[in-house]
Symmetry: C2
Subunit: 366 residues, 2 copies
Amino acid sequence: MTAARVGIIGAGQLGRMMALAGYPLGIRCLFVDTDANAPGGQVAPIRPAALDDLDALRGLARDVDVLTFDIENVSIDALERLNSITPVYPPPASVAVAQDRLAEKNLFASLSIPTAPFVPIDAPQDLECVGERLGWPVVLKARRLGYDGRGQRVVRAADGLAPAWESLGRVAAIAEGWIGFERELSLVAVRGAGGAQTFYPLTENVHADGILISSLAPYEHGELQATAESWLGQIMRRFDYRGVLTVELFQTREGLIANEMAPRVHNSGHWTIEGAETSQFENHLRAVLGWPLGSVALRGHTAMLNLLGRMPPALRLLAIPGAHLHDYGKEPRPARKLGHCTILDRDRNRLLGRLAELKRTVGMAD
Amino acid sequence: MTAARVGIIGAGQLGRMMALAGYPLGIRCLFVDTDANAPGGQVAPIRPAALDDLDALRGLARDVDVLTFDIENVSIDALERLNSITPVYPPPASVAVAQDRLAEKNLFASLSIPTAPFVPIDAPQDLECVGERLGWPVVLKARRLGYDGRGQRVVRAADGLAPAWESLGRVAAIAEGWIGFERELSLVAVRGAGGAQTFYPLTENVHADGILISSLAPYEHGELQATAESWLGQIMRRFDYRGVLTVELFQTREGLIANEMAPRVHNSGHWTIEGAETSQFENHLRAVLGWPLGSVALRGHTAMLNLLGRMPPALRLLAIPGAHLHDYGKEPRPARKLGHCTILDRDRNRLLGRLAELKRTVGMAD
């Protein structure tokens, strides 16, 4: 038996769920991460090293058939060097864009994908035109290294802008006009060898303080689904993409706009483990290996609830009929994503009732 | 995060699928097996040792919350000694019965569960009354260490009986009357703490040369389902059972009869990974840990095909829409169980067509 071998840079919960999805297919994953006890390292071999340790990454590249990653904050320079040893998917160029909110906005604009209006902030004088061009409030976002709401400040009036930028460390940033959205959505797509591609249905997401709380899928809206698919299709073609790509979207009164992209499996796609015929994790592995993509047919309506900060007792969760627990094996810490729980139902309204019950069990106000 | 720890004696594919089912629930499995590269050892820590190495087993017992096994040919004496260190489930007494075809038949009889008529064979003179009491043909089966058709001989006439027993090594055996069954079925049950129990639906099985080829579930027959559930319920109560119990059954013109029991997860329950809300592997772990049992609600009609002897290329299988591959990571060997493949469909007839297509892809005559 010669297993296919996939090297994964970063061994967080996303890598862990990839490795678990790979085993049944005869795929063995191998991690590099700073922490030997990271979630992925508990389920597959891990080589402890810094994520920019080029020697360790080269060693990984030599021992696998393909390289991928479970975080997008990896060195583009490293990914490009590794690509000459072993194929790296998703393509490093797509990661470079996802790392920089300005490049991302420019990509969206070049493909006529609507976004919030924005002003790049590189110097103090760039702050001056913000109010005039965007109105108030605005969201000031560092161009790099932002995730789960980090590196962002909501600014409600002109006199708050300079202090906000100061508090971000005067890093390169963008100011975004305020979007009064009706709903946060995301689309998870996967593209394989030869341009084969498939799309999960739109997912409705609820965030608090920039952190995903829950997802509900499918969000059934044929027109928006078609629009979002055409956008992700264009982005993936642009990069000759392979793997899972996620775009977060806002549904506004004026239609859909793109918020940001993630060149990887995504928290808002965790429901696919139980809710779809093939999970985003299995499909990502199939895609980066150049294998046929799996069916994304649905098994019903699915709700996913993140377990943040502390794990409720497993027994209490598992006593809920049909509740599926995913414990990432992480130490508790306030607001940290420690796991998630999924429930399915054929009926959307009944599912909403069950999600409310699940939230109460977990100790979250409904 | 303090994970629940389950020690598993034997690291075959059954243990492997248990370990994979455990990770999302925060359960870490730990194996003892003679072969460090056994299927389970590829996905979870393994301690190489003989399965009757009491020191190694005691060490395992001390490091886990509960002990279980993925084969029934384990030393009952060892299981009973370990039980004084750490709870062992399923109960050693149920394993002792499953190891001995005569004890098994006597158990069934004591619970008024019908079986094939049989004659115990301990000495040459026991052979004499076989024809008179059972007619011909008969199946001569070693009382111990039989599985997948090993240790069995079909005997068509009186003069074949002594040579057949000779070829089994004159071990303690039973001769069974020939059962002209219409269908081979199995029932997978699970019993947890406090007597909670649940039953998967009857599964229809096809064997060749004593090896399971394919399973189809559910086999919808309310009356037989109720009968089989009452039988497994009685067996489980008898042992104050915890874990998954499987009984293989024959459907005959005269009704259902019990063939044999397995005190463990079972090949004919592999379809539950995709076909049921909670798999037999997850439910076995929940049961032995005393956790609430998971829902056995169905996701559709499911077919499972064993992959024997050699693995077909993963890409060819995965190109079949909705095909789920399970590769156990084993070296090929004629007739060896190397993996299985599962497909689901809402419609049973359409599923049969897809199973036929799957068999052709795998290179099996339909």
